[in-house]
């Protein structure tokens, strides 16, 4: 009960427009969930709302994490509670070296006065950089500045490994990664797998799911979860696209919300 992320009837508005329209989902620690869904269906909106982005206004519903209503918490408080978001489009922070940033983030989540031996931090950082095939020089490079698309995604996972969250939301971390990198990232997530770690992976592609082997797959359309199932659901979607499912459920998509374009599909496997 206390070890889960529980989303109940979540309504979220962005720029005066309702995007999430009553979403329910429970992610238990120890589980891996995948969310798939057409472009514009609100997947990133869900991720931002869970993390507490000020632009994403929750108008109804609740989100409990470890029994606490986290909608009342600042984003940093949610993070310190154990929530993590790997951004679909990570921001660049000029002049802030990655390692300094990580050190401060780790310090922020330590109990008062508890010290982190610098040597240990450094060792973990180097190990994790290696795991993600990022050169040591990334430690002193400015946060995401000049990183390639794939490097940014791997740097998000690096942050996840360093911060060791209890529930991680991965927003299309696999998009833009080359084939080997998808595997590397999935292995990094799998390394955290266990009773103390849960994951909500937003993706458009089967490839990463082959490695992640999710316990549940959800389909999100127009701000709601319209279907949930096991790994086989992802295979179905990969083979047939969203249309048969939408027809079956009697859902018509608004303009602007469609299945991934050919371009993006290519990006996912390039």
């Amino acid at each position: 009960m206390t070890d889960r992320l529980e989303i109940r009837n979540l309504h979220v508005r962005v720029e005066e427009k309702e995007i999430l329209k009553g979403l329910d989902l429970i992610v238990q620690k120890g589980e891996i969930h995948a969310i798939m869904g057409p472009n514009g269906s609100g997947k990133s909106t869900l991720a931002f709302a869970l993390m507490g982005h000020p632009k994403y206004e929750v108008t109804e519903g609740e989100v409990l994490f470890k029994g606490e209503n986290i909608l009342e918490l600042e984003p940093d408080e949610r993070a310190r509670l154990g929530l993590f978001l790997a951004f679909q489009y990570p921001y660049e922070i000029d002049g802030v070296p990655l390692s300094r940033f990580l050190l401060q983030a780790i310090k922020a989540r330590r109990a008062n006065g508890e010290k982190l031996p610098f040597g240990e931090f450094r060792k973990r950082l180097l190990e994790n950089l290696k795991k993600l095939r990022l050169d040591e020089s990334f430690a002193t490079r400015y946060l995401n500045e000049g990183f390639s698309g794939g490097e940014k995604k791997r740097a998000e996972i690096l942050q996840m490994l360093m911060l060791r969250p209890e529930i991680a939301i991965l927003d299309e971390t696999d998009s833009g990664l080359d084939i080997d990198s998808v595997k590397i990232v999935a292995e990094a997530v799998n390394a955290l797998r266990g009773p103390d770690f849960g994951c909500l992976a937003i993706t458009h592609y089967q490839r990463i799911l082959n490695f992640l082997k999710p316990d549940y797959v959800h389909v999100m359309v127009d701000g709601r979860i319209v279907k949930s199932g096991g790994p086989e659901l992802a295979h179905e979607l990969e083979a047939q696209g969203y249309e048969p499912l939408l027809r079956e459920l009697g859902i018509e998509l608004e303009e602007g919300a469609q299945r991934p374009s050919k371009e993006e599909e290519k990006e996912g496997v390039a």
């Binding site: 984003p75 940093d76 978001l85 951004f87 002049g95 802030v96 300094r100 940033f101 922020a108 002193t140």
Partner: protein
């Protein structure tokens, strides 16, 4: 220690591991706010407020100066009286010249060992970390307390090579001819009202001479402390880097908080002879009742490089525009200026590039942050004289506003009298993005800290030119300024 050979170069690799570990150690240290004062009853001499010929004669008498210097002072005093207060720039109306103390002598001698510095003054500099820094990573240190330099020392090996690092007063005594030849040649008293004032009542400051071809690889530092209330500090610095030499001079300044205004009005003259490399770094952190009106100018001969690295965090008002006169073919100037203006502060800073010879290169990078109604101004003058063909000048000004009440202005003046030149000017004003703050917060960093990180990142082009110990101290100061800035 990080040795960065060129300003603006990214410090990606190098001895990153060692550096970070050291950075960590200093980061954990607790810095006090510099706000502590010593009583003045043990001073050897403390002047009465107000300025007159008699005050100037008294200063010269106490110091036992040669006649030419007294004449120079008195001539400057006449110029000071005649010049009007500047009406451009910051508001100086609160300065009352009659209430300022122009000369205070805390001790009768300048020590070469900290053991010989009076205890209470020594304790002050220990709190500021100066003796420790000297032991660890400096080539020489000078410490000025109100009007006089109370401590001065330079490493023996450098002394043997002929490097001179003395207080200006000692310099005048030991090298009268050299001082007479250069003193006031780069910045004559006629230059502006405050340069005239300084010329009339100057005391302390540094005199540095680096002989031909000598490279001083680690910095020389001067530390300026104002202690008494209503004090005017008027140090005078002259640095001569002879042909092919290299030196990095750093100054730091602090003062306790009083409710009355103090005045700091320095004159700094730099001479970079052919092929010399001279960097002058300032970390100004005066308390917020100090008027900081400083004239800094350099002359760069053939193939010489002058770098002004200037950070202004403290003071109520600062007016300072470091300049470089590139008078020799191929001379280079690199001016990097950062300013932070919080509540009630006005940082009116800038830079002047004067290209007076062919193939000269000048770069100005200005970064300013305003917060809680603080105001920053960039005031620049770029001149390319006739005949300075193939001159190249780049000016880049970035301002960051942290709220709606704060303000930033740019006043660039450009004067180009030559055709074959390359000139670039770019100015931006930005706000901190909500998304960036959210990104940092999503990793557990509280909003105020996230904002401080972004501000520090914005100032990183400056910070990375500093030796690591100073960079960490600077970051810490900015963090203190940023504390409590988010409601």
């Amino acid at each position: 220690m990080a040795e960065v050979t060129h300003l603006g170069e990214k410090r990606y690799k190098g001895a990153a591991v060692v550096e970070e570990a050291k950075e960590q150690a200093v980061f954990e240290r607790d810095y006090s706010k510099y706000d502590f004062k010593d009583p003045t009853d043990r001073y050897e001499y403390i002047g009465k407020p107000g300025l007159s010929r008699e005050v100037i004669e008294e200063i010269a008498h106490i110091k036992g100066e040669p006649k030419w210097m007294l004449e120079f002072r008195l001539r400057a005093y006449e110029i000071f009286l005649k010049k009007p207060m500047p009406t451009w720039g910051a508001d100086l109306s609160a300065i009352n010249f009659d209430e300022i103390i122009y000369y205070a002598r805390p001790t009768d001698r300048e020590a070469r060992s900290w053991d010989d510095v009076p205890d209470y003054i020594k304790r002050t500099f220990e709190k500021l970390g100066i003796p420790e820094a000297e032991r660890k990573f400096l080539a020489g240190v000078g410490a000025q307390y109100d009007s006089e330099v109370v401590y001065h020392n330079v490493r023996k090996d450098l002394e043997k090579k002929g490097v001179v690092f003395l207080s200006m007063d000692e310099g005048l005594k030991e090298f009268p001819d050299l001082v007479k030849e250069y003193f006031g040649t780069v910045i004559p008293p006629e230059d502006n009202k405050f340069a005239a004032l300084n010329s009339a009542v100057w005391s302390g400051g540094s005199f540095v001479y680096v002989p031909k071809g000598v490279h001083v690889e680690i910095p020389l530092q001067a530390y300026f402390r104002i202690n008494a209330a209503s004090m005017g500090q008027f140090e005078r610095t002259l640095i001569i880097a002879d042909e092919g030499s290299k030196v990095h001079y750093i100054e730091g300044c602090t003062a306790p908080v009083y409710s009355r205004e103090s005045l700091h009005s320095a004159v700094v003259e730099l001479i970079a002879k052919p092929g010399a490399h001279l960097r002058y770094t300032t970390l100004q952190n005066w308390s917020n009742d100090v008027y900081n009106l400083v004239t800094k100018r350099a002359v760069a001969y053939e193939e010489a490089t002058v770098e002004w690295v200037d950070a202004n965090i403290g003071s109520r008002v600062t007016m300072k525009y470091p300049s470089v006169y590139m008078i020799g073919r191929g001379a280079k100037a690199d001016i990097l200026s950062v300013a932070f203006a919080g509540k009630g502060q006005h940082q009116d800073t800038g830079a002047k590039l004067i290209h007076a010879a062919p193939y000269t290169t000048g770069t100005v990078t200005s970064k300013s942050v305003s917060k809680d109604g603080g105001r920053t101004s960039y005031r620049g003058w770029l001149k390319v004289a006739q005949g300075a063909h193939h001159a190249k000048a780049t000016v880049l000004c970035d301002a960051l506003l942290l709220d709606e009440h704060s303000r930033s202005d740019t006043y660039p003046y450009v004067e180009i009298d030559e055709d074959h030149v390359t000139v670039g000017h770019e100015a931006t004003v930005g706000k901190v993005g909500e998304d960036q703050i959210f990104y940092l917060q999503s990793r557990g960093i509280p909003e105020a800290e996230a904002l401080a990180m972004i501000v520090l990142g914005f100032m990183e082009p400056f910070t990375k030119t500093l030796p690591m110990e100073y960079a960490v101290e600077f970051n810490r100061l900015i963090q203190l300024e940023m504390e409590g800035s988010v409601g």
